[in-house]
């Protein structure tokens, strides 16, 4: 062991009460940081998982139809600038198959699925409900939204006759598996489907409105033969959805809407939550640093005689400085290890008490090695930085004064 380490460790061991208080401070601080980070990461992950469970990361659509002003360049006529916006009719994406192939080639894209979505009525007997038709390619769509995992009854099997509806729509229309529903659009096109599966995606509005049918049926009903209204995309890193979406839009000429834009409020909420958590962590670190500094300042005064003797025996100022910096670092490192343990215990305990009525945890416990490494590194660096002022002070001690005064 190098002499600086030996001296630092012995000084810490000698001042047991002081070391205990410093360690206690760091342990509590790191414990709070680990607990907060884990709690917030878990909660956010859970919210995002729930939100994205039924959504694509990026939805590509045709750009809106815009009314263009047609004026001859050499016209001397003054024209009213008041142009009414066009009503947006359901339109297909041009060359959608080719665009899909291009999207599938991109390494950051994990799944691509075509969708024909539009309004319709679901009719059974006297009951008529407004629904959203979801014309899909089953194999491709289930890679975007894992519908199989949401099934309450039957299975997610979409074919020429078979369709899937939500629990609320099934209840409102009074249908069970095998029952038939007539789907009718505003322009009078209709088709009859058989309920092959009933799903519950956890969002009531979707359970009431979504009706999954084949791509072809939807194309027929919505008068979009051979076309699709949108292309759903999932990406590898969901927090890059916005950036990737913009790139895809540029590449294809379509509009791209990321989940971050669709859930802008949620993103603001998550960001404010993270910001407030960082703020708390910052102040915890600062107070831990002040704690270490104040204890070490006292320690330097108490150890000034030893410092003086060491200096008389040929110990350089640099080495004295290192001895005190190391003390801060050692306290930071050991305190952070204890704090990681404390934080992990706290969050596990908290997660075990916060449960849904069905006994499942409200949020998953997220204890990643990276978080512990960062916490340990931050605490160690904080310890060293906090020790800087006392260390400089110790190195400046005049050996004659230090030896004489004590």
């Amino acid at each position: 062991m190098r002499i600086e380490w030996l001296l630092a460790v012995r000084f810490l061991k000698e001042g047991r009460a002081q070391s205990f208080f410093m360690l206690g401070g760091v342990t509590m601080g790191v414990g709070v940081i680990v607990f907060l980070t884990s709690l917030i990461t878990g909660l956010q992950r859970s919210i995002i998982e729930k939100t994205l469970g039924t959504q694509a990361h990026v939805v590509m659509r045709s750009p809106d139809d815009e009314a263009r002003r047609i004026i001859k360049p050499d016209s001397t006529l003054s024209v009213s600038a008041n142009i009414e916006r066009r009503a947006q009719r359901l339109s297909s994406i041009l060359q959608w198959q080719q665009i899909m192939r291009e999207l599938e080639k991109r390494p950051e894209v994990t799944a691509v699925s075509p969708l024909v979505a539009g309004p319709s009525f679901a009719i059974r007997g006297n009951a008529t409900k407004s629904v959203a038709l979801m014309g899909i390619d089953q194999e491709k769509y289930t890679r975007i939204v894992p519908m199989a995992s949401f099934m309450k009854e039957g299975e997610f099997r979409i074919s020429a006759n078979d369709a899937a509806v939500g629990t609320d729509l099934a209840r409102e229309l009074g249908v069970t598996l095998g029952d038939k529903i007539r789907l009718q659009t505003a322009d009078g096109r209709s088709e009859t489907i058989t309920v092959a599966g009933i799903f519950d995606v956890g969002i009531r509005d979707l359970n009431r409105r979504w009706v999954f049918i084949t791509l072809r049926s939807a194309q027929n009903l919505l008068d979009l033969v051979g076309g699709v209204s949108s292309i759903d995309v999932t990406v590898r890193d969901l927090f890059k959805a916005e950036v990737i979406g913009a790139q895809l839009a540029q590449q294809t000429g379509l509009t791209a809407e990321s989940w971050m834009k669709t859930n802008a409020q949620l993103m603001v909420g998550l960001k404010s939550q993270s910001a407030s958590s960082y703020m708390i962590q910052f102040f915890v670190i600062i107070s831990v640093a002040f704690g270490i500094t104040s204890v070490l300042v006292v320690s330097v005064i108490q150890k000034s005689r030893e410092v003086g003797i060491l200096r008389a025996m040929g110990c350089s100022r640099r080495r004295i400085r290192h001895i005190f910096l190391l003390q801060g670092g050692v306290v930071g490192l050991i305190g952070s290890l204890l704090g990681c343990g404390l934080g992990a215990l706290l969050v596990t305990f908290f997660a075990s008490t916060a449960r849904n009525p069905d006994g499942t945890p409200i949020f998953p416990v997220v204890l990643e090695p990276g978080m512990f490494l960062i916490a340990a590194a931050v605490a160690t660096v904080t310890g060293i930085l906090a020790a800087a002022a006392p260390a400089v002070r110790a190195a400046k001690l005049d050996p004659v004064v230090a030896i004489r005064n004590v």
């Binding site: 025996m313 350089s316 050996p399």
Partner: protein, 225 residues
Amino acid sequence: MSTIIQLADVRKQYGNDGVTTEVLHGINLTLQQGEFSALIGPSGSGKSTLLNIIGLLEQPTSGVIRVSGRDTGTLPDEELTKLRGRSIGFVFQFHHLIPAFSALENVMMPLMLEAGRPTPLQRERAAALLTRVGLADRLSFKPAKLSGGQQQRVAIARALAANPPLILADEPTGNLDTAAADEIFKLLFEVNQESGTTFLIVTHDPRLAKRCRRVIELVDGQIVA
């Protein structure tokens, strides 16, 4: 006989708020290898200041200090510290051992500081020195568990550890009863005889001063004898 340390016209002033007081007035002093000298003088005569200057712990206001022929006036702090570690051993009145370390580790300290880390060889040397000062059975004792005389013996062993050519002792027996003081003084004298280490001992005790081969008397910041 070679010259260990040489002071030429060394002056030391302390100043505060424009008022300066000269404590040492042009000291000329040479210590030869193997000398066993006492530095005596009344309180306030500047003994401690002179000892600190010889020990390179304090810089003189003017004058030249040569250690083994090397002028120390131009050396930077780091070099001065190194030179001090290698050339000078200290024995203080209150022994000033480091409480967190055992007797053996305290003796090893100057060697560890020089080498940067403890080694088995240092351990052997420290154990041999402690045996030499009669503390073979106290190697692992912390200073607090040793008597005043024993602590001073450890301090002497520590001063000898790096085998410096000069040992400065500031009233090494000042805090001990007569019997213990005699023993410590005898030990210093024996070490001087055995290893040829130069000793400069500050003492108030005329009885002990008489037993030194050379007596340097300092009165009002000047050497009078």
